[in-house]
Symmetry: C2
Subunit: 395 residues, 2 copies
Amino acid sequence: MTDFAATRDAFRLPEGITYLDGNSLGPMPRHAADRVAAMMRDQWSEMLITGWNRAGWYVQPRRVGDRIARLIGAGEGQVVMGDTLSIKVFQALSAALRLRPGRRVILSDSGNFPSDLYVAQGLAETVGAELRVVAPEDVAAHTTPDLAVLMLTEVDYRTGRRHDMAALTAAAHEAGALAVWDLAHSAGAVDVDLLGTGADFAVGCTYKYLNGGPGAPAFIWVHPDHAEAARPCLQGWMGHVQPFAFDAAYAPAPGIERMRVGTPPVIALAALDAALVIWEGVDMATLRARSIELSEAFIAGVEAACPELTLHSPRDPARRGSQVGFRHPQAYAVMQALIAEGVVGDFRAPDVLRFGFAPLYNDMEDVDRAVAVLAGILRRGLWDRPEHHRRAAVT
Amino acid sequence: MTDFAATRDAFRLPEGITYLDGNSLGPMPRHAADRVAAMMRDQWSEMLITGWNRAGWYVQPRRVGDRIARLIGAGEGQVVMGDTLSIKVFQALSAALRLRPGRRVILSDSGNFPSDLYVAQGLAETVGAELRVVAPEDVAAHTTPDLAVLMLTEVDYRTGRRHDMAALTAAAHEAGALAVWDLAHSAGAVDVDLLGTGADFAVGCTYKYLNGGPGAPAFIWVHPDHAEAARPCLQGWMGHVQPFAFDAAYAPAPGIERMRVGTPPVIALAALDAALVIWEGVDMATLRARSIELSEAFIAGVEAACPELTLHSPRDPARRGSQVGFRHPQAYAVMQALIAEGVVGDFRAPDVLRFGFAPLYNDMEDVDRAVAVLAGILRRGLWDRPEHHRRAAVT
């Protein structure tokens, strides 16, 4: 039985804040700072270099990966941590391309996160591939026989629209292509079944619904059918079959280990590990049901109380992740006014108010308060103050 | 005036340990754990997503980079942090290659760190370039007119041999090539003058002499002459000219910012920043003089007391970094015996005992104790016990 009162209590949320931005940055687990400081004192400071063996730093990227594997329908020993999501997208994409020699087309959609498209553009330019970008609803129709790789983010970062991973993966396979899935807005948010859908590669970040902290390490998964064949273009010593033999020639480690690149971020992994402990015992189907319950209540509440907002997310919860977007011509200022009153969502250009629902710590009280505050701001025009129009570097 | 008593006191070293392995992993600064925990509580936990602006997380990679710039002879605003060293090698190398269209040869040497060679092999395979690896002493003779990029690590990770950065960069330029320097064993260890030597790209890690903690973020520097022309093959959103406009097409940010890739590792950067504070007021010429003094005393002491060891480093201190290697047929077991007696250096295959001297916290007492313990172990054959022959995963 998933105990959401206990998981909510595991987080430290500032007094008076209704936090609906876990889809951008998850909040700090209550014990995370102590855990990290203790690791630094007991391991780094006391063990020094011997921490690589004695404290298990060397095997940590896969040990932490195993915690995530369960949440995304992957098997033990199939997920490894490291780098950032953009780097992992590059790795997955370049490895997938190489598994389809003779084909040079990468297909993605305009709802993909821009960084994924930038990475694909950079790789395509470098290796002479072609990146085709179509509208999200047109992806299936474009899985043509010249396709090498279908690269999609399952849940759209602006609209929350959720792709049908099984159907699109099947369409890619039908065309003889491989499917690379970005789970940035899926891992810890919805029930993902990588092995069940037959996906080929998956990558994701851990600072959103997994609460690993700002800039927490990314993860990568490779289907066992490809794990021994996939060649990482980014060949680092930690992915070598014998890193400490210091051979002059690269030879990939078995399985997912080859997707490691450089020295793992031990301190950041300690923070992430502390956050993943909270997921022990959480059932993903129960989590998904609660996510839908919260999102549906929010949509119903906003539509009843705020007629000037337009739903920017699919109405069918089965086609939505764990976030809801509403459009407003002055969305930036409206979000600043909301934040000033303690309801934290975020803004995505050009006109989207984005609210994430993280069942691990959000509850129906959060939904009710957010609806009430949002309605009040719009009714009283509180967003139209100079301080709410000023743009910061990061939105 | 550089106050080495004060800098030594800034570190927390375990009781009874003589630490000569800062060339592998620097020790923890005394205040680092508190600083990181405070950042997590005051910034991540309290500010949540607003920390990107309010706590300056977004500009942190360059702010921290500026602290390092001073230590390596680079200018303000020319260094940016992120990823791991292997990733930064890939970025520098791919950008340099692209600045020399029509040329496809990368020259490196067999003394380079294997991960740099693995990265170059992966890139060369991907883009159809050729990697030539020659002996360190033959590099100058191989800067031929077909060369695109000379890629070297300034200080050899096993021998401590230091390349002449100015002369080899000039030779590369003479051949019409660019020079990429890896400063892994240079930054914080020797006096580096990037702008003075005319180097084109430089990269380095921060967990060795800079004491940023296990897996701390790497840095990259691009000479201002190339900064606006260099195209990063790894194109991430943080290197985009307007990351929060979420444009579909990549356009590089001005200058070094384009070498950013994904979301920066905020927690790890806090640990690193805490370590870099100690460098304020440290004069690099004074540091270099002290490094030579310690290394010379160690070599003289070992050669007098341990005739069975062979110096594996250049005898001329001007041609050496801040580490000293000695060879012994049973180097692995000898190092385990040393560690068991509290003198921590490390082993590098096949037969090298490696000792790093970090003037920030090592002093002449460390040298004397290390020599005495090493001599005792060899004299009494203490290394030849079963427990000292057992190999761990990380050496």
